[in-house]
């Protein structure tokens, strides 16, 4: 698809004054954006900046409230994803839309016009995957594939439509650094063919590496359009966040106390067919330490958290020791009474119930550990609303939780503010052991740095902190020790100062282990 002269300057897609209102809330307001043929265009912004809303309008999932979309100079309306595909827009979503029990080819067939034979699809998918360097076995079941391989299915599915524009929503958030490199090669190939890519991310480093131009969104408005290569990460971050973000001062405590949390040869079978089993996990966290567990999503992080928190206890009491006492077979309440605190990954419906007030959500996590303070009335168990509300207020002040009223429903808080409350709820107890899963997932930069600092401070004050995270930046900010989880196996813990991103990347892919390496290459059999 050679592009010459004037056509090269005419944008493939131009968006004028595009606005999307949800009620009175403007998720996108007056967005202007143009994408030229054959460029990789970055869409930058924090969570909640309006990136997803914008691309959903481009892909026909949402209809704009006002404004116009020009496709190759012609005004168009895109009422549905299939209309977008017909125009030549393909999209790879952040959360994959795949059926785990079906094969790769079957999943691809679901998005194609009916009447094309499965064998043809498989053959075509195979050909595309080879020519773009995306090795994929069309007959493999999705359930057996890694996250990176699943993403390839989505990309191949988009490529089968021969699109002129491909939209990728946060594609590297689920990849190891090595897998990400492979993806970038594919993107370069697409660009060389004259296709355009709209690349959504909040990772500045990779945007600077691969993108030709960038548009920055904040609070639903365009706050900057630039060539990312001419900017510094700091200047890009300023456009995204609106101000400089407080830097987390590294842990660096020299104090190394007793082992407060220890896991000895923890093995747990997967509870569902698509869960990961834990295999011989060993770890130690001392007082004053922050042990971070890195890993690509879906490698057993959730399962490890469940076992550590006691939501799903294990039969062997000695598999988990809290403050040097066996706790493996104890439930979450008993472990809280031993001095441990827990922050799960999912805010809505796990750490908190969205429809209940903040004070009720405080009781939720602390009704037994602070029974004396919060519950009265003997066996009837009347909640002392005044005491609970005072504590909720104290937590909100300490963690700078911004809320619309005195005691609002948890669901009405933004992700960052609710997460600050949930972390603060545990810190308020000064737990000796704190286990946190994805502490700043989907949280704005200001709240994230507040949360990270509070974790570091807790360790400094002599507690043992275990952080499970997919975010390498976060891990390097808070960790004193780092271990990597891959397919339910945990690597040794290394002092944070001795590890590089590349080494962690290798550990994430299970590459430190020859057997695993062999398995990886034979995966596409």
């Amino acid at each position: 698809m050679p592009v010459e002269g004037e056509a090269a300057n005419r944008p493939l897609l131009a968006v004028g004054n595009l606005t999307k209102l949800f009620g009175t809330f403007a998720a996108c307001s007056g967005i202007n954006l143009d994408i030229r043929p054959g460029e990789i265009h970055a869409l930058l912004g924090e969570n909640g900046a309006g990136k997803s809303t914008l691309v959903k309008m481009l892909f026909g999932v949402l209809s704009p409230s006002s404004g116009q979309i020009l496709w190759q100079g012609q005004p168009v309306q895109i009422p549905s994803p299939s209309a977008a595909r017909k125009l030549g827009i393909g999209m790879v979503f952040q959360h994959f839309c795949l059926f785990e029990a079906l094969t790769v080819a079957e999943n691809i067939a679901l998005s194609m016009d009916p009447g094309v034979s499965l064998a043809n699809i498989a053959e075509e998918a195979k050909r595309l995957s080879v020519s773009y360097g995306l090795p994929l076995d069309p007959n493999a079941h999705v359930a057996d594939l890694s996250v990176g391989e699943r993403q390839r299915i989505e990309i191949v599915r988009a490529l089968l439509q021969n699109p002129k524009l491909i939209i990728l929503d946060e594609p590297t958030s689920v990849l190891t650094p090595q897998e990400a490199d492979r993806l970038f090669e594919t993107l370069a190939k697409l660009k060389a063919e004259g296709r355009s890519v709209l690349y959504i991310s909040h990772r500045l480093e990779e945007v600077q590496r691969i993108c030709d131009r960038a548009t920055v969104l904040r609070h639903g408005k365009v706050t900057g359009a630039c060539d990312p290569r001419l900017e510094t990460p700091a200047s890009l971050a300023r456009m995204m966040v609106g101000s400089d973000v407080a830097h987390v001062s590294a842990a660096g405590t020299d104090l190394k106390g007793d082992v407060q949390l220890e896991v000895r040869h923890l093995t747990a079978a997967a509870r569902t067919p698509f869960a990961v089993s834990l295999k011989d996990v060993c770890l130690k966290v001392r007082a004053g330490e922050v042990l971070a567990i890195a890993g690509v999503a879906g490698n057993g992080q959730g399962e490890l958290f469940d076992a550590l928190s006691g939501e799903y206890p294990v039969p062997d009491p000695d598999a988990i020791h809290v403050r040097q006492k066996p706790a493996g077979n104890l439930g979450i309440t008993a472990r809280r009474l031993m001095g441990a605190g827990f922050v799960p990954e999912e805010r809505h419906g796990h750490a908190a119930v969205p429809a209940l007030s903040l004070s009720d959500n405080l009781v939720l996590a602390r009704c037994q550990s602070d029974r004396k303070a919060f519950i009265g009335g003997g066996f009837i168990g009347i909640i002392r609303q005044q005491a609970v509300k005072r504590a909720a207020k104290r937590i909100s002040e300490v963690m700078d939780v911004r809320k619309s009223s005195d005691n609002p429903a948890a669901g009405s808080l933004s992700g960052g503010n609710l997460q600050k409350f949930i972390v603060g709820r545990e810190l308020d107890r000064q737990p000796t052991v704190l286990v946190v899963n994805q502490p700043t997932w989907g949280v704005d930069a200001g709240a994230a740095s507040r949360i990270r600092q509070s974790l570091v401070d807790l360790a400094k004050s002599g507690s043992a902190v275990l952080v499970i995270s997919q975010d390498l930046d976060e891990i390097f900010e808070v960790a004193t020790e780092i271990a990597v989880i891959s397919e339910g196996r945990l690597s040794e813990a290394y002092p944070a100062a001795t590890l590089s991103r590349e080494k962690i990347g290798l550990l994430m892919g299970g590459m430190d282990n020859q057997a695993d390496a062999a398995r990886e290459t034979s995966h596409a059999h």
Binding site: G23, K86, R336, H350, L364, Q368
Partner: protein
Amino acid sequence: MRIELEKRPKISTLFSILSPFIALILTIIAGAIMFMLLGKNPLDALYSFFVEPLLEVWSLHELAIKAAPLILIAVGLSVCYRSNNWNIGAEGQFIMGAIAGSILPVVFYEWHSPLVLPLMLLMGMLGGALYAGIPAFLKAHLNTNEILTSLMLVYVAQLFLDWLVRGPWRNPDGMNFPETRTFAAEAILPELLSSGRTHWGFVFAILAAILVWFMMRYTLKGLEISVLGQSERAGRFAGFSSRKMIWFSMMLSGACAGLAGIAEVSGAIQQLRPVISPGYGFTAIIVAFLGRLNPLGIIAAGLVLALTYLGGEAAQLSIGVSEKVTRVFQGLLLFFVLSCDTLIHYKIRVIWSKLGGTAVDGGH
């Protein structure tokens, strides 16, 4: 033109109060249309259905008698439904409570003591609770769907009662009618007022409503019920056991239904017959939802649904339509209540213009 439902940013307090009233109005409108199609004057029909029963003292007593079991059962069901356990079998638990409570006056009819009545009530609650324990056990330990098991156990209870009153418990002096002995005086729930038949069952219902309201609003148990009902995962994180909650909520609602059963038999019928309930256990489901699963709302809703029973009887007498209109009204009401609840979470938007798919084909 098309109609869209748009999710509200947060739930509307206005509509969570208004929705039962809108549902009532829509029910009355639909009822009027139904009467019109039956060839009756809709205004006269609605008057005799909804207003006439409220004009006389004796019929107000009947209203309280019918409302009592509805409220008592619905209060128990509200705990179940709030904790995400779908007990549909209150009718069966009502019957089993009535049977268990009747053991003393029917089998040990020669035992006379002031203890008989309190023991009957306790055994009634126990009977209902144990019968609800069957679906609770099946759900907690075998992961069976409680909607199906509790519903099917209703038919078992109904046939068991039928067999009892025709067989072993039939009154030997009853000329072969399928009935048990009539209860002795000390086995009969006393009347509340001298002016009519209302018995202590109504007091039990109001008391249960207030106690459950207190539990839901002020106690940790109430929070546990809400948390487990809205998210089992969050409940597990809090250290609550969803398995124990299945037992607790099912047995509590079973006990309420069982108490309603024995109170009905001992207070209003005074013996066991093949049929002792005009579907109270099912109607109470409507009561629970019309009352927004709030015990105080349920008291009001119980009175409204009791009126549909009386109205059905009245309409049969005065305008000559089948008393099946009772069921129609109850069904309409549940239908409208559930659909009006949509308004709490969604806005209705009518879109007049096009936004069709034509432009795209042109651009290609």
